[in-house]
Symmetry: none
Subunit: 416 residues, 2 copies
């Protein structure tokens, strides 16, 4: 079965809102093993909606529409779709009673335009709206199915999960499962060069690379009758590729570096602290994004000025004078300093030039030093982050935070 | 002129990523006075792309495509589109040289699949990619224009603003200028109630509210032959609405609270420092997002544990024992403590419960205290951030950081 998602709403075409409904529905349908081949968005315009519906019905077995089910004059989806399928609009008594109850509960008089929401195309399956007034519907016509859902994401999700999912399950005989391998320190085309034969030579499971900001995600996807069979099908491929990507692999099925790090720290009862200059709190923010980090992260400092580097981290004035704030030596003293100040097992530091100003020939914008200090352990790394003429401050900071988190993750793993 | 946005990428159809490119391009085209009537998404599949392109070219004057310009085997957009328009792929020397330079800078060997990015359809306008390797292109064919842009949002935006916008402007005989008024501490519907008559009664310039994460942006937009005329047309409306929204207005044509704050600090030579608990470095990160902040921001601490609150900020043990870490008293001592530690004119602090765990009946998840301390000045604010069942840790942290930045901005303004 293949599907098209057809979202209706002028606010999408004006860019006022982002189409999260299409992403949500796509993910849900993938899990059901239903292939989504197209997303389409049209405005609140009957003619263009009808034309788009025509195209969608021609190329998809299942068309899921969202939006335009409200009570106002520009909500015309249901009428347009009914007309397309030659269905009369008839009063749906349970919907009418639910509307009456909805307004009675709120002590609001029901307006005539609200009644419109109780009329449904003849013969349609009606989906209850548990958090709003617009019911959803499914129309089955020959071997095609058209489903209409409300636009507000909260209403859509609740309806999809409680009503539409059980309705669709009967059309599917297999499910899709996937595993995500997260890599750092390697580019997408390099990954592809290493794994090209597997990527092009496999159909179930499949292997595909995705470039993420400064990272690569490898996704293995299998289609199988059950989840357990899907995972079993992926196992040989996992074993085949893991040795190849080992040096870059930081986690499987984790959302990001900071989660991989905090999970590892929690499992092994290791504490860390941070001393940031150019990243200015971004690393601290990233670590504390992860709920439950407080038992492994006492805190950190953003020592933006040299004074604070000396005061909080005991960086020596002579070091700053001799090598400058952006140097290997300062980075190391910062990492040791934060470790001493907090009593954490490991200290992590960054110091660099995020720009756009402040660069020189010797120390260009994008130059960042990061260091890790532990008991009988120290490591310092230099990176130059430069991706074309307009490398932004934000990017330099984001990338160097990732480099630093990765350096720390590698360091804590050496403790084993 | 009407346009269609055609995004190419299987990861969109799998729901792995949300289509922010379509929203961004829609907003940009609206400003140019170009109507967007359709968004379409197809996967990395040559046949379906060709069919979707056929439909798009039939119903739109301008088709903007995104994605599929990468170096890997599944990046097939450019070849498919060239074939559709019967153009040969030819080596584009400037693109080739830029690629060579890109890889040389990184000391990475250029792979054969990278060379493919230097081939462009014959006769195409080539747009330079300032932050990646894939150039963009425009093909003009009869009265139709097809534009292809890279998929990564950062590359797309930079290319659109620096290269595509000037290219498209020549097809428009008027320009759209706008001014953005940024409000904090008021909801969108409340703004609409106050300004409804102006919003519904104006056509050029127009006034429209946009809800942004915890903020409202009011945008005045004028269409005029020149920029100067556009700005002149907006002036009377600016003067009419400014007194109404004055208590909430924190800046005009500034991107965010932290920029408004840092600009004010730089203009008035005031220094600030931060002491964060629940926001964990997010405020420090936000302030240091703004280039040039170093002369007004010596630094800050993330005092996540009570020990670090006492050590770095001189928060009294008795205060923590009597009132707890999440309290008005602790927030005030933190703000005073960071001011003393850094010698900054103002200290800002946050302490709260970001969740999902750690809440109680008395101190629920979402409770955040923030305080500002200055010379003969102190202010403390309590907020409870709760937006229904699905309030996330991230949202609590983001919102409380904004409240804190706003509190600090108001405080520094009282110094005048």
């Amino acid at each position: 079965m293949n599907a098209e998602i057809l979202c209706i709403g002028t606010e999408l075409l004006l860019g006022n809102i982002v189409n999260t409904n299409a992403a949500y529905l796509s993910e849900q349908l993938a899990r059901l093993g239903i292939n989504v081949y197209h997303h389409t968005v049209v405005g609140d315009n009957a003619q263009r909606l009808q034309e788009a519906l025509q195209i969608a019905v021609n190329r998809a077995d299942l068309v899921i529409m969202t939006g335009g089910l409200g009570p106002t004059y520009d909500d015309l989806s249901k009428e347009t779709v009914s007309k397309y399928f030659n269905r009369q609009m008839v009063l749906h008594q349970p919907s009418f009673e639910k509307l009456q109850e909805f307004y009675a509960l709120r002590g609001v008089k029901m307006q005539p335009n609200n009644e419109k929401q109780a009329y449904q195309p003849e013969g349609a399956v009606v989906f209850t709206n548990h958090s709003g007034t617009a019911p959803g519907i499914a129309i089955e016509e020959g071997d095609k199915i058209a489903i209409m859902l409300p636009g507000p994401p909260r209403e859509l999700k609740l309806m999809f999960e409680s009503e539409v999912l059980p309705y669709l399950q009967k059309f599917s005989d297999h499910i899709i499962v996937s595993r995500d391998l997260r890599l750092f320190g390697i580019g997408e085309s390099q990954v592809e060069t290493m794994l090209r034969d597997i990527m092009t030579g496999s159909s179930n499971p499949t292997l595909a690379p995705y470039a993420k900001e400064g990272e690569v995600m490898l996704r293995i996807t299998a289609s199988a009758p059950t989840e357990a069979e899907g995972y079993a099908m992926m196992q040989p491929m996992m074993e085949q590729i893991q040795p190849v990507i080992e040096p870059y692999l930081y986690g499987v099925d984790v959302p990001d570096l900071q989660t991989a790090l905090v999970n590892y720290l929690l499992e092994h009862n290791i504490t860390v602290a941070t001393a940031e200059s150019c990243t200015g709190g971004l690393i601290s923010k990233s670590i504390t994004d992860v709920a439950g980090c407080s038992s492994v992260y006492p805190g950190g400092v953003c020592s933006y000025s040299n004074e604070m580097k000396m005061k909080w981290l005991d960086v020596k004035k002579e070091t700053l004078d001799a090598y400058g704030a952006v140097s290997e030596q300062t980075a190391l003293e910062m990492a040791q300093g934060i470790r001493n100040a907090t009593g954490a097992d490991f200290g992590l530091s960054t110091t660099g030039i995020a720009g756009p100003g402040g660069g020189s020939e010797e120390k260009p914008v994008g130059l960042v030093y990061m260091a890790v200090a532990g008991e009988n352990y120290q490591q310092v790394k230099k990176v130059i982050i430069r991706y074309g003429e307009q490398t932004s401050r934000e990017m330099i900071r984001q990338r160097s935070a990732k480099h630093a988190l990765h350096l720390l993750l590698q360091a804590v793993k050496t403790k084993e």
